[in-house]
């Protein structure tokens, strides 16, 4: 009985002991396992970080795989780690020998890798030459075959670009589940590259779109002057908008020796010089041309000249504006010199004793002198007004004024002029026009004077000029309202009359003159664009600044100005004033 008890106790002890042992063994195994896992996680993190740092923004897959294989021995036991990449023209095979293996061993993994790549790509690779590089331990004579082997495909942007392999002379080493870390690393790297590639592609797309849409002509050539990039603007400049394979010779031909594009590119590429030409006349336009070397920004070509770029910047418009400005200046000089020169000559004449005795002639010269000085004053005032308008310092001082009286006063003022030109001048007033309107009476008189004198000037004897005032109601047809208020305006197919004005007072000056040609209508209110109309070929009378100032005055009142015209029939100039 005691024996039996001892036996039971012993058995229990053994069991407990065994259990404890098993338990402790399991515990220690768990600790080891979690330690291993921790280690691998740490490693995983560190290698991923290292990878991230080393890869940086590199798109070079080989470099990235080099980084991966270089760090792998800390984690996986292997005889060789190798990778194989497919470059369309060749296969790159690189193996790092951790311990010495035989040539057959290397050839074996090489063949296995090529086979698996061939299967992955579904493509025969036998004919493509293999570029081999071995690093690490030396090859040795040995019969040890490949006993463990593990292959991971390298996928970038959904495409297989190569395989990564670890191999060992010991058997049974690599199992799928143990290789997760390797998968993770490879995945992480390929994802990074894929994303980078996308970024680069997007940027490249943006860059291309930019180059394509640029107004400047751009052509880039490599060191052998082969055209690498040419945008539509550049093709347009050389008159070959639809040619696909534009060459440097197309540029040479079209530039007709006006610009030595080939020579300047050569200078730029070989000497790294930037060259610019200010104004080259090409096909009716003027261009600034810039030739510059293109340097590599990173990698082995960093700082090295890899190409040359030529930029054609169109300055035709600037030249036109410049020319217009010059014309404007000489026109102003002309207009100022006429009265000044005349005043000088009148002074000269009036110094003579004889003229003072001829009362009639003397009075005539005094009158001419006063006319010349007031002509000059008008021009100077116009110039000052335009200067103020351009500086944004043009101001009007509004007060309540009777618009009907202002119009009637102007009609009276031009009575003599219109009579002597045999032109009927009359005011036409709508029923609803307000008595008092907030405006600058002097400036609005100036506007009316300008428009009325233009209307008389451009009308033939027997013609008529009407100054009309009426109320416009929002949404109503301006033309119909004008007709209802007594005067039909001209049908103008080019200038569509707006009817979206808020309720406003409209003042219109309608003449039965020569009208304004379509092309000149747009230039009317432009400072530099003076033009001679039909019968004034060489010289528009005066500075032509009148309408520029008129527009400025109306806009300073918060109104708008417009015009409709029919050639040979007449024109209507109208403006709005908030009532």
């Amino acid at each position: 009985m005691q024996n039996a008890l001892v036996t039971i106790i012993a058995a229990c002890s053994i069991l407990i002991g065994a259990y404890s042992y098993w338990k402790s063994k399991k515990l220690s195994r768990d600790i080891v396992a979690s330690e291993t896992e921790l280690k691998s996680r740490m490693y995983e993190l560190s290698i991923l970080k290292e990878l991230g740092d080393k890869i940086g923004y590199s798109l070079n897959v080989q470099k990235i795989v080099d980084v991966i294989t270089g760090s792998l021995n800390q984690f996986i036991d292997y005889s060789t780690v190798s990778y194989m990449l497919v470059d369309p023209a060749k296969i790159v095979f690189k193996a790092d020998l951790q311990s010495s293996v035989s040539r057959q061993f290397v050839d074996d993994i090489k063949n296995r890798m090529r086979d698996s790549l061939s299967a992955l790509l579904d493509k025969k690779l036998d004919t493509i030459p293999v570029e081999e590089a071995l690093t690490g331990a030396m090859l040795k004579e040995s019969n040890e075959p490949v006993r463990s082997f593990f292959n991971i495909p390298l996928v970038i942007g959904g495409n297989v670009v190569g395989v990564l392999t670890v191999a060992h002379i010991k058997p049974g080493l690599y199992h799928e589940e143990e290789m997760t870390i390797l998968y993770k690393i490879v995945n992480q790297a390929s994802q990074a590259v894929t994303q980078l590639e996308e970024v680069v592609k997007t940027e490249e797309g943006k860059l291309n779109a930019m180059v394509e849409s640029m107004g400047d002509g751009i052509v880039m050539t490599d060191k052998d002057y082969r055209v690498a990039v040419v945008n539509p603007a550049a093709k347009f400049i050389i008159g070959l908008p639809n040619k696909n394979d534009v060459t440097i010779f197309d540029f040479i031909d079209h530039l007709e020796g006006k610009f030595d594009i080939r020579g300047k590119l050569e200078e730029s590429i070989t000497l790294g010089k930037i060259f610019s030409a200010d104004e080259v006349a090409i096909g009716g336009g003027f261009f600034q041309i810039l030739v510059a070397p293109v340097k590599g920004s990173h990698g082995t070509i960093k700082g090295e000249t890899v190409a040359g770029v030529v930029i054609f910047h169109d300055v035709t418009k600037e030249r036109q504006v410049e020319k217009m400005r010059d014309q404007f200046t000489s026109m102003i000089v002309h207009e100022l010199r006429s009265p000044l020169g005349n005043m000088k000559k009148i002074g000269e004449i009036m110094k003579e004793e004889s003229i003072r005795q001829d009362k009639k002639a003397y009075d005539e010269y005094v009158q001419m002198f006063s006319q010349s000085s007031s002509d000059m004053l008008d021009i100077v005032n116009d110039l000052l007004d335009v200067a103020k308008l351009e500086a944004g310092k043009f101001e009007v001082s509004k007060r309540k004024a009777n618009i009907k009286e202002i119009i009637e006063d102007r009609i009276k003022f031009f009575d003599t002029t219109s009579r002597s030109a045999k032109i009927e001048l009359a005011g036409v007033f709508g029923r609803e026009i307000p008595v008092d309107v907030l405006l600058d009476p002097l400036r609005i008189s100036q506007v009316l004077s300008n428009l009325i004198s233009n209307a008389i000037k451009f009308s033939r004897p027997g013609g008529r000029v009407f100054v009309q005032a009426f109320m416009h109601r929002n949404g109503q047809d301006l033309e119909r309202e004008a007709a209802e208020a007594g005067i039909s305006w001209f049908k103008d197919t080019e200038n569509k009359l707006p009817n979206d004005y808020a309720d406003t007072l409209v003042i219109a000056i309608t003449d039965t003159g020569e009208g304004i040609s379509k092309e000149n209508r747009g230039k009317l209110f432009n400072k530099f664009e003076q033009f001679g109309s039909g019968n004034r070929v060489d010289k528009p009378k005066g500075t032509g600044l009148g309408l520029v100032i008129v527009k400025g005055i109306i806009e300073a009142h918060g109104g708008t100005i417009g015009m409709v015209s029919e050639e040979e029939i007449g024109s209507t100039f109208y403006f709005t004033i908030k009532s």
Partner: protein, 127 residues
Amino acid sequence: MAKKILIIDDDKIFAKILKDGLTQSASKHEVSVAHDGEEGLEKVKQDRPDLIVLDMMMPKIGGIEFLKKIKLFNITPQIPVIISSQLVDVEKISESVELGIKGYIVKSDFSLENIIKQIESILNKEH
């Protein structure tokens, strides 16, 4: 000796001053005035002047166009023409020299006396 002179200028004050100056000068020239190129062409045909004082910038027919017209239609091309302009416009000067002008005066730079002297000297040379 009194000559027939035609002034073509849209600047009425200048035309009047020059006309007075020429008619009252020692030679007592006979002066007519046109205010644009079109009127000028008419008067050339009508009056057959001995000399023309021609403005460059004018309405209807400008100075250069006027010169081209008298050359093209062979309207008394032997009449000496003096250009009177406010500007020293090299392009227009050379163009008008090619069209056979005899002189170029910058109106505001020359005194009336000077302009009359210039006209007299050309009249003397030509006739």
